[in-house]
């Protein structure tokens, strides 16, 4: 090989740069974050259905406004639709997938059940570096004093 020193240095840099995801994670684990559904409102809904929370979720006695898979991947889109509907058309009621009507409100509907933003929303959002600008204007449960997160309460 000609210019051995230069070629090998170049290849070493190439190798280090492209294997960055591997060596930067040595000794780490990053399991999928878990979203906590343990909030007073959801507990209350389970109690009303005569079940404990886990069972109620499993059996579909408690549901979000739409199917869970849809909510996981599309909730941001749904919130945008809600915003447009409320702000542009003044229509505040949403017919959910499970035969209920919901007020299209982040603070009053979503955060009413999910009063634990830190243990619910933030876990995945931090994992994925998602920083919704919703909270630039809207108050978080913590700011409203209705938060139910373990850490926030302490």
């Amino acid at each position: 090989m000609y210019d051995k020193g230069k070629v090998i240095t170049g290849l070493a840099i190439f190798f280090l740069v492209f294997t960055f995801p591997f060596w930067s994670n040595i000794g780490k684990t990053a399991p999928m974050p878990e979203r906590s559904l343990d909030t007073p409102v959801l507990q209350e809904m389970a109690r009303e259905a005569g079940l404990d929370l886990e069972q109620a979720l499993k059996e579909g006695a408690i549901n979000c406004v739409e199917d869970k898979d849809y909510i996981v991947s599309q909730h941001m889109h749904l919130l945008n639709l809600w915003r447009d509907s409320v702000v542009r058309s003044g229509n505040r009621m949403y017919a959910g997938a499970f035969g209920k009507r919901h007020e299209m409100s982040l603070s009053k509907s979503c955060m009413n059940c999910h009063s634990n933003k830190k243990d619910f929303c933030d876990r995945c959002h931090n994992y994925m570096n998602v920083n919704p600008y919703c909270w630039d204007c809207h108050l978080t449960p913590e700011q409203m004093g209705t938060a139910s997160d373990a850490e926030v309460k302490q």
Partner: protein, 344 residues
Amino acid sequence: MNVWASLILSLIAIGAVATVGAVAGAAVQFFDLSAAAWLFGVVIPYLAFVTFIAGFIYRVTTWARSPVPFGIPTVCGQAKSLPWIKQSRLESPFTKLEVVARMALEILCFRSLFRNTRMTFKGGRPLYGPNQWLWVIALAFHYTFLVIVIRHMRFFTEPIPGVLKLLEALDGFLQIGAPYVLISGFVMAGAATFLLLRRLAFANIRYISLPNDYFPLFLILTIAGTGILMRHVFKVDIVAVKAMMMGIVTFHPVAPMDIGMLFYIHLFCVCVLIAYFPWSKLMHMGGVFLSPTRNLPNNTRAVRHENPWNYPVKVHTYEEYEEEFREKMIEAGLPVEKEAAEEE
């Protein structure tokens, strides 16, 4: 190859790749086929990555083993000469530092593309004028590609470094939609489309375009298209994507999840792209560093460029020749420089 043949061949190839990805995604989504998920979500990504790294190193070392027989920098400026003649240091580098500066400008700013000219006829006379479209679009394409790859590192790092967050915030500062539009994704898709149209629109470029020119473009367009669709239209569970990718990079692969057909097409196309990379024209990424026309100094009048394949040549000098044939030469009446020994 005829343009139709080239296009049809490369379209068949990209169609096959996308179909395989789609079938894998469908197998996971609708038939819960975990074997397909493992194959396309774990095994093939590992194999593709190893092929990329090993193939890249292999290609570079084969190039580095080929001798460069002549000093052949291609320059376009005044070479270093007499002290009172001004040297063009960047165009015609003499020292190592000047070579590095010239290379850096070539690699970071695509300087030789900037010099692109285009001939037109004005009143029957050929006219050469500057033509920087290719330069602008190529820069846009390569830099947005880089930004996208760096941004994708959010799937491969935990916690996510601050620079990645900053980059993503800048890229998304238009704040259109949720998740918000990332400018680089659309610019790259647009630039790649332009690069494809360029090959199709100009007869002379169409003439020299082959399936191996079209295929990488189709591949990249498919990757960009599925990526944009995943972000803005048929959203996927990106938390599951990250969990899967972190499993791969920590060598503790988790069972791949049902993330949707688009994701499996995206991922499989990326695997094909990186596995194909070392064997294709995309290797210009490594090749640009090894181009003798760029990385040699223009110092051939000061420093002898030793041809590395020179070997000690066995020579037969005239003295030795005469020594061998002197008697026969004298017999034949040929002039010799030294008379035969016996006659003295």
